[in-house]
């Protein structure tokens, strides 16, 4: 089959790769931004029955436009049910009912620990970030975690200023030592490549390069000497259908948020 030549952005590619990683029977704790776009792209393409949960309490939500905030009215109005926030965190998240949690951050290290709290010293930070929100418990209660982050040396760092949420700690066995039984980050979906933890060490390793990306480019955007899988594959480019659905969704969203209330 001859590949059709399509033009798309790195962010679109990242969103498409994240969407493909989701299954029709997944129950997903969705975050705002790239995860929300990816989850709804999955719902509108190959995973129509996927259950999307936003931490504002909406369960089984089917937004027609992407929310700007975690609690836009659109989420509740299209949800199967909406529960109070304590119930969301106690029964649904801590209760172990979520299969995939999405996280992102300002900084990530090679074991997929994340920082969304501060850059610099906590007491006197260079940059005060929003904080962890739901992330510390999302990271340990969901069956597995997908991380979406654009690559860059400011974000992919050797050492985090602050560990906001646990990835694989200091390597294989860290989670188990803390009594955490869930898998943790299984995929880090970037704008250049897909990273997965090495089976033996849990160190993030490039497993797929996106079309047009090179090893050198990935290495140049990473703050630690990054490793590549022995069998490195190339990710399939977005299909025309994926791009159409995603762009329609983004266009509806821009129209909805651009105007006044």
């Amino acid at each position: 089959m001859a590949a059709q030549v399509l033009s798309y952005t790195a962010t679109e590619m990242m969103t498409v790769v994240a969407a493909r990683a989701l299954k029709n029977d997944d129950v997903v704790f969705v975050g705002i931004g790239a995860p929300s776009a990816a989850c709804n792209l999955a719902r509108l393409t190959h995973a129509p029955d996927i259950t999307l949960i936003y931490e504002s309490g909406t369960i089984g939500t089917k937004p027609n436009v992407l929310p700007l905030s975690i609690g836009d009215g659109e989420l509740s109005e299209t949800a199967l049910t909406t529960v109070a926030v304590p119930e969301m965190f106690r029964y649904w998240l801590q209760g172990g009912r979520i299969t995939v949690g999405f996280l992102g951050g300002a900084q990530i290290d090679k074991f997929a620990n994340l920082n969304t709290t501060v850059v610099g010293d906590y007491a006197k930070p260079k940059v005060r970030l929003p904080g962890g929100g739901g992330a510390p418990e999302i990271a340990t209660h969901c069956r597995e975690i997908f991380i979406t982050m654009a690559m860059g040396k400011r974000g992919f760092v050797e050492k985090l200023s602050f560990i906001t949420s646990l990835g694989h700690g200091s390597g294989h066995g860290s989670r188990a030592a803390l009594g955490v039984k869930t898998k943790g980050p299984t995929k880090v979906i970037t704008d250049l490549c897909l990273l997965e933890p090495d089976a033996a060490t849990c160190e993030l390793t490039v497993s797929e390069l996106y079309p047009g990306t090179t090893r050198d480019k990935v290495a140049a955007e990473c703050g630690w000497p990054i490793k590549f899988a022995f069998e490195l594959s190339e990710t399939a480019q977005p299909t025309a259908e994926e791009l159409k659905v995603l762009r329609d969704l983004q266009a509806r969203t821009t129209a909805a948020h651009g105007g006044d209330a």
Binding site: E55, G73, T82, L93, V127, P130, T140, T164, D260
Partner: protein
């Protein structure tokens, strides 16, 4: 028993300098009009509690009304930073701000423990993270049945909870629907509560299956403030003004621009000015 008051009277009678106050709302039903009234009354040394401090807390911090913030996520949702919060933490402007920082799960549990009249909340959380190193209120307990170590946080018992609800009936019962957040827990955990509502009705009529009712005897004061959640939203009345959240970003970045905005849009306005934003959906 709930008493119907003007907003300025409800705030003046129930909130005092140095109080711990929770103005809750999880994106939906954020009590902006009440927050502006707190700024107009020149309150000081407040401890603010909220899971998701957003623009109204940024404004209270920026005018110097706040001594301490207890929170779990402080940002402008989908837009970026709270610039006044950042300026206070990074540069002590206009005054130093103490932080007691948690996760969402911890604060949700802490409100629930407060409402349940328990001294603390226990939950599975805070595994392998640095917050435990910078927040001494995060501790642990051993389960007496299984031996499992659980994280603990002290119960929240604010002096005052301030929320915005959809409707009150004439007896002072209060109704919320849609995304109901932690408002019920905050009101029941607090010593006093002030509720602003879109309108007063004779009878609530048919209710959304997710409706939360606060009986009149759990509420201290009610003020009718149509539009009082703007630029947040009130389900069935008006939508979230996402464009406002985006427009506030450059306003909050600069100290002078921010203070001018406060002067024109808070100090020189009143609760009644929010009415223009309330349009009940057909």
């Amino acid at each position: 028993m709930a008493e119907f008051l003007s907003l300025s009277e409800a705030v003046a009678r129930n909130l005092h300098d140095g109080d711990q106050v929770a103005m809750e709302g999880f994106t939906h039903l954020i009590p902006f009009a009440a927050g502006h009234e707190v700024i107009r009354q020149g309150m000081s040394r407040l401890t603010l509690v909220r899971m998701t401090p957003d623009l109204i807390y940024d404004q209270l911090i920026g005018v110097g009304a706040v001594e301490k913030l207890i929170f779990s996520w402080g940002g402008n949702p989908g837009v970026g930073s709270l610039h006044r919060l950042r300026d206070a933490v990074e540069n002590d402007w206009p005054r130093p701000l103490k932080l007691e920082e948690h996760s969402h799960a911890a604060l949700a549990n802490a409100y629930e423990a407060g409402a349940a009249n328990l001294p603390f909340a226990a939950f599975r959380g805070y595994k392998g993270v640095d917050l435990t190193k910078v927040n001494p209120t995060i501790r642990s307990v051993i389960c007496p049945y299984t031996g499992e170590e659980l994280a603990t946080v002290p119960a929240l018992r604010p002096d005052v909870a301030i929320i915005h609800a959809l409707r009150a009936d004439k007896s002072g019962n209060v109704l919320l629907e849609g995304i109901v957040g932690v408002q019920k827990e905050a009101v029941l955990a607090a010593k006093r509560s002030v509720v602003t509502v879109e309108e007063v009705v004779d009878d609530f009529g048919p209710r959304n299956p997710n409706a939360v009712i606060l009986p009149a005897w759990t509420v201290t004061a009610i003020a009718v403030v149509p539009g009082g959640a703007f630029p947040s939203y009130a389900q069935g009345y008006y939508k979230r003004a996402n464009a406002f959240y985006k427009a506030f970003d450059p306003i909050a970045r600069d100290r002078d621009t921010f203070l001018k905005w406060i002067d024109a849009n808070v100090m020189k306005k009143s609760a009644g000015d929010f009415a223009q934003y309330s349009k009940k959906a057909a």
